[in-house]
Amino acid sequence: MSIVKFDNVTRVYKTGEHELKALDKVSFTLDESKFVVILGPSGAGKSTLLNMLGGLDSPTSGTITVNDRDISRLSNDELADFRASTVGFVFQFYNLIPTLTVYENVELVSEISKDHLDAKQMIEEVELTDHLNNFPSELSGGEQQRVSIARALCKNPQILLCDEPTGALDSETGVMVLKLLLKMAKSYGKTIVIVTHNQSIAKMADVVIRVKNGKIRSIEEQNDPMSADEVEW
């Protein structure tokens, strides 16, 4: 069942007299509980696409429908509510609140999400119970990204959006984080969308969307994706 639908989505950025078309009439649909990888070189428009899907940005034209609801014309507050209830983000640079502990960073989402999960349980699942009271600055990059995953899932969103989640990590830690991400997404039945330029990650996906110069080059469904251990990193 399709959960996301992009219909002729265009996003133009204006800087002075110059116009930059980051997305150009992009159309696709995503099904529920799938692992989707958006692949493309730097500047292809993949992050813009993710930001549109996550309600961080709105299209210049076209419509984006999530759960049959057009999110492309929502007000700021409606978009905030959408982000609070429907999507969870995992960023390349973690974006944890430095003045909150691990527990507090995860627990934070209870302030905005009615349907949230138990923070302690999520931290346990990312195996950071020992660091419950540590501040982000006291953790390694991989540990910080695990907190970020726990925080994203604690909101109990339908879709997990990850922008280069392993980009700031060494390959060993990156694989470990990726495994955890997939395991968690599978066990909680989430749709997961990862934006990356790393071809290896694409081998694990159910769907691979290739983007270049703001256009979709191909959408490829993989019936037999590899596991993280099978992929050569």
């Binding site: 940005d57 934070l108 925080r151």
Partner: protein, 782 residues
């Protein structure tokens, strides 16, 4: 190229640069303005005193001074000039409640005047030289006829010149009058020849009534003239004691010698200057300190934000010295621009107080209002620029330490540590926003402390300014209702007979007082002998309650508290007499203007002090009191209290300046630090937005931190403001004996305005939150 970068970077940090320039402008401006104000008072008045030969000493004798006495006094070694002098308050004929102090400086060497328009001084002239301010207020012009009433005699003449005199620079008719009112009271000079002709006329009138013409000759006129010159004014650099002894030796009797420091004009002018110095030593320092501390915090933040650029320049091969010079010039730029604007502001502040149209324009009457700057202000201004440059230097120097690679690494803020509060159970019960804000405050201690400092400063200025007004209003209320419960004050003639004067007081159904100069431990103070059974004129204690004067001892005013404890005996000697009297101190009283010893008339009689009432206080209307030879002048209390209104309006002007300065200070400091906090937390704010927090929720978080600091700032600032005010009152106690009074409105307005400023800035900063670009803010690494 780097210069171009300087201006572009300054533009990039425009809100910080502008706020720092505003702070330095305010700091320097208020510092300079307040200090220029008191210095200008000293400078301009001393110039004016020199131009009009303002007397250094005034000698008083009830018997008057003969020409021979004057010769002996002028012959004293150390006396540069001396003149017989007359100053008497006379009603202006054909007007209601207008009077003039009529002055004669016999040989015109001391206590002279400057002519603003008309004829120069001429010792043979028959005309009047009239105060130009009085003339302007009452539409008198040169050539107009003026008639004064003197003990039933008309003194008439043409106005020949319009003048200003140092003797009347603060032109008040009465010791209780704080502010001049040129509409009702001014001054005029006549020549000694005209005075002699008036005496002649008076004697001629008496001939027809009482005296045979046979007894009247030139000697009789001179004798009357001797009596009328009850004052000798002197220019001399001698010490008071030295002069007293020399006069005693020369004339063979003790004469009351009062130095200029006891004369109302000099005393009040110097009092104003002292007041300015006191104000100038607290408030501007507070402003400058806040300005410099803001600079420290802001420059540190800019330097850390510029760290990568500093590293890039280093990596490109720029020498540390050149990079330092470049970034140090930021501080220099801010210092120079801020100081230049500050000098302009300082001049405006000084001029708003000290100029003919300024607040002091109605208080001082002098020809020249040149603004003057005390010398120490120059090193302070240069020092401020140097200090600001040094602050930039040190901020950048820190970032330049180590290798180019180290400099290229982004600035990493201090690691979080748990605070004591976090180990309590209360912490776990707190909401996310509370924890977030508390941790942010503890992580950015200097920013939080500066914000707090700004709010406390804002509060202190508001409580200080508004409280000063309350205290002054309370003081005037006290004077109007509790002390002076009369309708009319009748001043009696110097030669009034004691019994007749007391008889008149009883006819007018009034209280009376007798004022005389006494020497107490070498100081000249006033002895106030009071007869007040009707409670029309009251003596009040420290708590502003009426004292039922006891006949067992005397009361010292609060300014003389150090002279004796209750129960001690004091010994004093009235001027013009060799007698000394001893009395027990039984209490302290609050005196309005003069340093005084107060006693009941019964005690004065018991001690055998010869006294004559000088003023009668009655509830009769001014117009209903019949004229009499005993009466030298009548003053309506409403008129007297009206003169205070101008005083209150000066006060209001100062209060408005202070409150505006407080609000600007609060807004600039809070906005600057608020923006800094917002920039530092923009990544966190963007994260919250991405997570799904609404703009309003995030705005509330930002505002609540400001409001917490405001609550703490108000809690500290309120008592601090009261403390500063108390300190100011103690410092000003030499001039006025005021009791600190703070109305509930002052508390409410101060708190309301401080919260208003905080909320306004909070909303301004929170409003920026809407513009956060989530995508951009989250792109970079921490």
């Amino acid at each position: 190229m780097l210069t171009r970068k300087l201006f572009r970077t300054a533009w990039g940090y425009k809100s910080q640069f502008i706020s720092m320039i505003i702070m330095i402008t305010l700091g320097i401006g208020i510092f300079l303005g307040f200090n220029m104000e008191w210095y200008t008072i000293e400078y301009d008045t001393s110039q004016f005193f020199a131009d009009t030969n303002y007397a250094d000493y005034r000698l008083y004798s009830q018997d008057g001074f003969t020409a021979d006495d004057l010769e002996k006094i002028a012959g004293i070694k150390g006396v540069e000039a001396a003149t017989r002098f007359l100053s008497v308050n006379l009603d202006l004929k054909g007007t209601s409640n207008k009077s003039l102090a009529l002055d004669v400086s016999e040989n015109y060497t001391v206590s002279t005047f400057v002519v603003m328009d008309g004829e120069d001084y001429d010792k043979n002239s028959d005309g009047f030289w009239l105060s130009d301010k009085f003339a302007a207020a009452n539409n008198y012009k040169i050539g107009d006829e003026l008639t004064l009433e003197y003990q039933g005699l008309d003194i008439s003449g043409k106005i020949v010149g319009l003048i200003k005199s140092g003797e009347h620079m603060i032109c008040v008719a009465d010791k209780n009058q704080l502010m001049p009112d040129y509409n009702s009271f001014g001054y005029a000079y006549i020549s000694p020849k005209k005075l002699r002709s008036i005496i002649q006329e008076k004697i001629d009138n008496m001939i027809s009534e009482d005296l045979p013409a046979f007894f009247v000759n030139d000697d009789a006129v001179s004798e009357a003239e001797n009596k009328i010159y009850a004052q000798v004014n002197i220019l001399s650099g001698m010490e008071k004691e030295e002069l007293e002894d020399a006069v005693k030796n020369a004339l063979g009797k003790t004469i009351m010698v009062t130095p200029k420091t006891d004369h109302v004009v000099y005393k009040e002018a110097m009092g104003e200057s002292e007041e300015g110095k006191t104000m100038g030593s607290v408030l501007p320092v507070l402003f400058l300190a806040i300005a410099i501390l803001t600079m420290v915090t802001t420059m540190h933040r800019i330097a850390t934000k510029e760290k990568i650029q500093i590293g890039t320049l280093k990596a490109l091969g720029f020498k540390d010295r050149r990079i330092l010079r470049h970034y140090t010039s930021y501080g220099l730029f801010i210092g120079v621009v801020g100081t230049a604007f500050g000098m302009g502001l300082g001049y405006l502040v000084c001029k708003s107080v000290m100029s003919e149209n300024g607040m002091m324009g109605t208080y001082f009457d002098m020809p020249d209002w040149t603004a003057a700057t005390p010398f120490f202000c120059y090193p302070v201004m240069i020092g401020t620029i140097v200090l600001l440059t040094l602050i930039s230097f040190l901020s950048v120097h820190r970032q330049l330490r180590g290798t180019a690679a180290e400099a290229l690494r982004p600035y990493s803020p201090k690691k979080m540590r748990k605070t004591l509060l976090e180990h309590t159970k209360l912490w776990n019960k707190m909401r996310f926003g509370t924890k977030w804000n508390l941790r942010d405050l503890s992580r950015h201690k200097s920013r939080s402390a500066m914000t707090l400092f700004g709010i406390v400063g804002c509060m202190v200025l508001m409580v200080g300014g508004l409280g000063m007004r309350d205290t002054m209003s309370g003081f005037l209320d006290l004077l109007d209702k509790d002390i002076s419960n009369y309708a009319t004050k009748v001043s009696l003639a110097d030669n009034a007979d004691s019994e007749k004067a007391k008889q008149l007081a009883s006819e007018l159904d009034g209280d009376w007082e007798s004022l005389m100069g006494i020497s107490l431990d070498g100081d000249t103070v006033t002895l106030d002998i009071v007869h007040n059974p009707k409670s029309i004129y009251n003596v009040i204690n420290e708590d502003n309650r009426r004292i039922e004067l006891s006949d067992e001892g005397v009361y010292l005013c609060l300014r003389l508290k150090d002279k004796a404890n209750i129960g001690d005996n004091i010994t004093f000697s009235p001027y013009g007499s060799n007698d000394t009297y001893t009395a027990k101190v039984i209490g302290y009283n609050r005196s309005i203007m003069t340093e005084s010893v107060t006693m009941s008339d019964t005690l004065a009689d018991k001690l055998g002090i010869d006294h004559t009432p000088t003023d009668i206080y009655t509830n009769m209307k001014t117009g209903d009191i019949p004229s009499s030879d005993l009466i030298a002048g009548k003053q309506n209390k409403v008129q007297l209290m009206n003169t205070f209104n101008s005083f209150v309006s000066i006060m209001d002007g100062m209060v408005i300046i202070l409150v505006i300065a407080a609000a600007v200070l609060g807004i600039v400091v809070l906005y600057n630090l608020g923006i800094m906090s917002y920039v530092e937390r923009s990544r966190e704010l963007a994260t919250l937005k991405v997570l799904g927090f609404r703009n309003k929720q995030i705005g509330r978080l930002l505002i609540s931190q400001n409001l917490w600091l405001t609550v703490i700032g108000v809690i500290i600032g309120l008592p601090a403001g009261v403390g500063v005010l108390e300190w100011l009152l103690v410092s000003l106690a030499g001039e006025y004996e005021m009791k600190l009074m703070l109305g509930p409105l002052t508390y409410c307005v101060s708190i309301f305005l401080t919260f208003g400023v905080s909320l306004l800035v909070g909303l301004m900063v929170a409003g920026k939150n809407k513009k956060i670009d989530m995508v951009e803010a989250l792109k970079e690494a921490d």
